[in-house]
């Protein structure tokens, strides 16, 4: 097959956007709506809430830690077989979960099996998307990631309805059927070969070159800090509202409003990221700073209007930073190394995600309310945005790198690495 010089920026790329849309819905939408099962499982297994919430935590952790595996496999075999295999794994995990008789079964089936299935789907798909687009990369990523927001809307009531009809066992079985659509999404990912692919070499070589890439490492650290603060409000917003004596209906309404602004933020930021010249990292810094500020101000608000305004602001800015975060990476490391790059980033930033929610919970237990945890989350985000300022070409007006630059950079890195290897005679 001929290697393309430029990503297609359209054509079959839009089908990849569609596939990524459904995949982010089926992976993260399911994870986010897992709270519906949480209540049922606590009652069914008569376990403490903390032990049941480990199911989702293990799933997220495996998905993020397993990302490099997914990336490496898709570098070698292309994204399609990897994602389809991941879909089958995820669905079978849910299927086995519906037959579970102890909590350990759930840890292994949903946590380990479905988690590894998700690891093989999400990262390769987003990386594939980045390869299909260059000029409209942010918009494509933003559109694809709206799947997360829309699915949270749709899946929570859907799962609730399934649970009311079939209890948690039947509902998990049907979520497994839903997850099978990941296989169909994987089938849509037609392989694409770009010019820089042969230069950057196989997965092993890519990983080594990435680990020596200064800006990439700084970016990973920044994203880890951002990740630590990012997930906290999702877990604690409703609890915080309950502390303030909001009634459940108004609280659910506020969460819906936040979800809508999250969606709008994703698309708007995606469009903006492509329209504004210069490195996308600057936009990422802007959105991250705004998210951090709105989070830090959240505990100060007591009136319903102020709280709603801040929540909407948080939703918009946090949604806005997601597509941009994914768009920065191809600019840093090039589309040739995107699979491995994204996998590594996901793995490292997952540490932040794992630490964030328990840290916030611990702060809540110690201080008695959510003020400290929101402020800490905001400060993590601000710290991350600070590190982003150290990325190359931050202050310049240069546009995104051209393919020749990327190939040159890849070749230079490879040459410098081979020079560093000790000479063996």
């Amino acid at each position: 097959m001929a290697h393309r010089a430029e990503p297609p920026d359209g054509g079959w790329g839009w089908m990849v956007v569609l596939s990524a849309f459904f995949q982010s819905a089926l992976v993260f939408g399911v994870l986010r709506s897992f709270g519906v099962f949480f209540v049922e499982l606590v009652a069914a297994f008569e376990e403490q809430a903390a032990r049941v919430s480990w199911i989702a935590s293990i799933g997220i952790a495996v998905q993020q830690f397993g990302s490099p595996v997914g990336s490496a496999l898709s570098t070698k075999y292309g994204p399609r077989p990897v994602v389809m295999a991941g879909g089958i794994l995820a669905a079978s995990g849910m299927l086995l979960a519906s037959l579970a008789t102890t909590l350990t079964h759930l840890y292994l089936s949903i946590g380990l099996l479905s988690g590894s299935g998700w690891a093989l789907t999400f990262t390769p798909t987003l990386a594939c998307l980045s390869r299909y687009f260059s000029r409209r990369r942010s918009l494509a990523t933003g559109l694809a990631l709206t799947g997360v927001g829309l699915s949270s809307f749709a899946f929570a009531p859907l799962f609730q309805w399934l649970v009311s009809l079939y209890a948690w066992r039947g509902a998990l079985l049907l979520v497994s059927a839903l997850s099978l659509h990941l296989v169909a999404c994987g089938a849509l990912l037609r392989p694409l070969s770009l010019m820089e692919d042969p230069v950057v070499g196989g997965p092993g070589a890519q990983l080594t070159s990435l680990l020596h890439h200064g800006p990439f490492l700084r970016y990973t650290v920044a994203l880890t800090l951002i990740n630590t603060g990012y997930f906290i409000p999702y877990v604690h917003l409703i609890a915080h509202l309950q502390d303030l004596d909001w009634d459940p209906l108004s609280a659910a309404f506020l969460v819906s409003v936040v979800a809508i602004s999250d969606l709008v933020g994703r698309v708007a930021s995606g469009w903006l990221g492509d329209a504004v010249p210069g490195p996308v990292a600057r936009l990422l810094m802007l959105w991250t700073t705004l998210t951090g500020v709105s989070l830090a101000l959240l505990p100060v608000a007591h009136t319903p209007t102020a709280l709603m305004a801040l929540a909407v602001a948080y939703g918009f800015t946090s949604g806005a930073l997601t597509p941009v975060a994914f768009s920065v990476l191809p600019e840093l490391v090039g589309t040739g190394r995107i699979y491995c790059g994204l996998g590594l980033v996901q793995m490292v930033e997952s540490i932040g995600g794992l630490l964030g929610a328990p840290l916030s919970g611990y702060l809540r237990d110690v201080t008695g309310n959510y003020t400290a945890s929101f402020v800490v989350a905001g400060s993590f985000l601000l710290a991350g945005s600070g590190i982003l300022m150290t990325l190359p070409h931050f202050c310049s007006l240069a546009s995104t790198s051209k393919p020749q630059d990327r190939i040159r950079e890849a070749v230079e890195t490879k040459v410098s690495l081979s020079k560093e290897e000790p000479e063996e005679d």
């Binding site: 009311s164 009809l165 209890a167 039947g170 049907l174 059927a177 839903l178 099978l180 169909a184 089938a187």
Partner: protein, 371 residues
């Protein structure tokens, strides 16, 4: 002279009769004090005629003491030889004695003494509940009560100001209640009814009425606390176990019992019979019935009943038992749909690739021809 009734200063010659009424305890209703007159007679040993009278009056504050005075009279001389006074001390927060003396109209001697004492059990808690009635709109207050308590009900009425023309009554159902205290300051009338609730017969509705031009009414409704179960049916599968929970907020029940529905009758669940049922109560506020190894005939209604000292209250929980095949059918349907979609996508792709290859081959062919 053997009689107990002794008359004093009888004009008759039988001086052994002394009028007992002068040595009597009587209630002065105006000052609300109990007075006891003691009259001592010093009798001459030669003439046996009283030569001196000594009168002592003892005043008793009725809220503190009720004396019992008994005079023991010598059978030979009919003179009082011994006076015994026993005083009962009443703590006014515990007991309110009502002493009524019925006096014979002829002899002015008390013929009957009735003491009714209402005891407020100090080991029970006291509830003060009050209502304000402003217009002819009846006011109601619901009170949940689970154990015996002293009750003080107060109604506050706003009258037109003419205190004399008002008539205040308290009723439970159709029965009129007594022992009510009423006082008025300005145009506000306070009426109070105190009683003890000891069993379920005393639960119900107590109403205070103010009869003026328009009747004003306030009602106090006493009920046992309600039990909360689950509104939606619990769905389980064959072979699973389930825990049915009944809760009661702000109450500590004495006894919980579970019943299952057999047709239309309630059958109590026997825990000792087999391992299938297990009743666990983590605390007095809730009860849990665990049913293991569910089968399809375990479905239906279950009742939990809480027994309070003042009554019972129960709630229903519904259980549905499904077989695993029920959700399996939609699952297989969706799985089949996914297989079809994947096949369509892959077939479409091979189709377009074949087309592309044919056109590429055609182009190559043309180029070769041109060469």
């Amino acid at each position: 002279c053997l009689g107990i009734n002794i008359t004093l200063f009888s004009p008759s010659f039988c001086y052994c009769h002394y009028r007992r009424d002068r040595n009597t305890v009587f209630l002065d209703s105006r000052s609300r004090t109990l007075k006891a007159l003691f009259i001592k007679y010093i009798v001459s040993p030669f003439t046996s005629l009283p030569i001196r009278e000594e009168t002592t009056t003892k005043h008793f504050n009725s809220s503190l003491e009720t004396p019992n005075i008994s005079l023991t009279v010598s059978p030979f001389t009919s003179l009082p030889i011994r006076e015994e006074t026993t005083t009962k001390h009443f703590n006014s927060s515990l007991e309110t004695p009502n002493i009524s003396l019925t006096v014979s109209p002829f002899t002015n001697l008390p013929i009957r003494e009735e003491t009714t004492t209402k005891h407020f059990n100090p080991s029970l808690e006291t509830l003060n509940i009050s209502l304000t009635v402003r217009s002819s709109v009846p006011v109601e207050k619901n009170i949940t009560l689970e154990r015996p308590s002293n009750i003080e009900l107060t109604c506050q009425f706003i009258t037109s100001g003419n205190v004399n023309s008002v008539n205040v009554t308290w009723k439970k159902g159709n029965k009129q209640l007594e022992n009510i205290h009423t006082n008025a300051t300005g145009s506000i009338l306070y009426t109070q009814y105190m009683f003890i609730i000891t069993d379920s017969k005393q639960m119900g509705s107590y109403s205070c009425f103010l009869e003026e031009e328009k009747e004003q009414r306030g009602t106090f409704n006493f009920k046992v606390p309600e039990v909360q179960g689950k509104n939606k049916p619990l769905i389980t599968y064959v072979g699973d176990s389930v825990v049915l929970i009944c809760k009661c907020q702000h109450c500590s029940s004495l006894n919980w019992t579970w019943y299952s529905n057999n047709g239309s009758a309630q059958v109590p669940i026997d825990v000792q019979m087999n391992d299938k049922y297990e009743i666990k109560g983590t605390n007095a506020n809730e009860t849990r019935l665990k049913i293991t190894h569910l089968s399809e005939d375990n479905k239906g209604s279950y009742w939990c009943r809480a027994a309070f000292p003042l009554g019972e209250s129960e709630q229903r929980v519904e259980l549905v038992v499904l077989s695993y095949l029920v959700p399996l059918k939609p699952f297989l349907g969706i799985a089949a749909e996914v297989v079809i979609v994947v096949a369509v996508i892959l077939l479409y792709e091979t189709h377009t690739q074949k087309k592309k290859k044919l056109t590429d081959d055609g182009k190559e062919f043309e180029q070769i021809e041109q060469l």
